[in-house]
Amino acid sequence: MAPKQKTPIAEQDPKERCHNFKEVCLGYTLEEGIAEAKRCLQCKTAPCVKGCPVSIDIPGFIKAVAEGDMPKAAEIMGQYTNLPAVCGRVCPQESQCEGVCTLGKVPGFEPVAIGKLERLVADWKYEHTSDAKPQLPGEKKGRVAVIGSGPAGLTVAGDLAKKGYEVVIYEALHAAGGVLMYGIPEFRLPKSIVQKEIQAMKDLGVQVETNVVVGKTLTMQEILAQFDAAYIAVGAGTPHFQGVPGTTLNGVYSASEYLTRINLMHAYEFPGYDTPTKRSKRVVVVGGGNVAMDAARSAKRLGAEEVQVVYRRSLKELPARIEEYHHAVEEGIVFNWLTNPVEYMNDGNGQLCGVKCIRMELGEPDASGRRRPVAVEGSEFVIEADTAIEAIGQGSNKVLLSTFPELNLNKWGYIVADEKTGATSVPGVYAGGDIVTGAATVILAMGAGKDAAVAMDEYITKKRASA
């Protein structure tokens, strides 16, 4: 019988890592990976595959790892995912593939560490593949424009390039990668890995044009005149604020700003890089998702003496990946459950000096089925703070959408797109990722891109045949 626990994996010591931005998890060695792969039961029914949004042949690649055949493992994985090094690191595995793993259902047993094995294979591949460029079909089947270079855009671009299309990605920022570059911190997802995955797309012939804000630098109308089809994957990129008094004080940030400064702009290397951020002493982070964990742990790494997370529900409802929560606790982040900010307090000079909070209790279930937090009257208290970071979610960014009214949007402002194909209300225009689903996950964005690539290939092939 397989060992009960996952094969242990090396991590940077919490005391050390909370002072640097280097990756927390150091990954399996080949031997450790083989040992972990051997824990897999090779189930005939493979529930894990159904738990994976892109249906990776998990038993297949794990078997190859168990046999020490890494090229084969990489080959199998490459058929399903374009971003294995990313997903192996940031997928919420506990609620997906690993959540349904048969081994994990046995009392006292942990599931197979599918994500960590995926990461091992992906990292092995980057170390061992030659520089030889992949062979691409010579004649092009058509031209496709992709707007946004996050996981959804990169995936659709890679798949269509493999199918023989000329693909141009337009990205608003100066660097490609979307949230992988500007949101998720270096210590969880090294930017060199993201760059390797983007280089892999470029090797497939995908062109990436940065500094192009579609709707401003180029219009959708111009794009549609030049391309056979377009894919909109602009993410859910506009931060929400709770709107409590004091939101515009100095020292109050959206997590998007806080993390963009640090990740995309390298503020943690200031003044070696020009973009500054504050070296705070006492930080309050509002929210309970991955974004909140990332902001809290980044603040700690920038030298904050105390970082407190304020979340209006309880640990049970915490939307963040459980691994990230554990890492945060190890790094000394303090959690205030059932608490909500009601005011950012002014020190008299326009600078934040404290966050006034109120205790909450869980009431009746709301529309989402989760019990709704209600404020406990008279329970206000103040957390002293020089920095507060709101990580309470994002909404749909209107920069492109407002210039393309033909596109049907839902009541939350996201694009209405067919669940299977990504087709929108405009023929030839497809969409996917966070701009369709609202803020979700990397793997769902990638899955949307994969499905759309198939549909767009069919659409263009048909269109060209009838022309």
């Binding site: 920022l173 990129g237 959206s254 890089y273 500054p276």
Partner: protein
Amino acid sequence: MFAIVSKRRIAPKEYDIWVEAPRIASHAAPGQFVVVKPDEHGERIPLTIADFDREKGQIRLIFQVVGKTTATMAALKEGQALQDISGPLGTPSEVENFGTVLMVGGGVGIAALFPILKDLKKKGNRVITILGGRTADLVIMKDECAQWSDELIITTDDGSEGMKGVVTDAMRAVVQRGEKVDRCWAIGPSIMMKFASQAAVELGIPVWVSLNPIMIDGTGMCGCCRVTVDNQIRFACVDGPEFDGAKVNWGEFMNRLRQYRDEEKISYDKYAEEVGDLSWL
């Protein structure tokens, strides 16, 4: 890369450059801006599109050296390039034939005022322009503004040119002599915009200002540029940069501009130490 095709020093610490950026030039409108990241380790800073030439595919930027990033830009020569420029960003000015417009500019804000007044003139308005500065050689773009204005009034604090005083004195003088002004734009240092807005309200003129908060992406993604207008939080990069000057929370706006004073000084001092002589600026 975006090549600098021409560069001129137009006042102490103020530079006027034309940059190759065909896509931006072909879509730009008055009131819009770009975000520039000069080099690999650079920050992203917003600069107004002071003019554009669609045929040549060029845009014009006029900037004042106030810190590290603008100093590095000033050090670039014709033929060299800026690494990243994105735009045109922000909502264009609302330009139509209003009748008589009063255009008030100060400091490097004149660069932002210029494309709007030029367009207003082309659309048939009677354009009265007031440009102010501490002293004569700090008032930029006088000839160009004169060319697109029906009347140009200059004010200087020291009286070295035009009327001695500040722009609000000139605004009041224009109304007192009997002009019926339909709209006003005031663009310049925040304190000038604040007082010009107050004066416009007193004089009963609708007033637009162009806010210049700290920005990063310029596309509504970070929320760093938030300002309070009419008691509502707005993102200046997408909802602005132009807002009703009568409704801006000026105290908060000016406070937020100070957020990184300490870090900006560290950055500039380090740069000054690395490059040595900066007296040429």
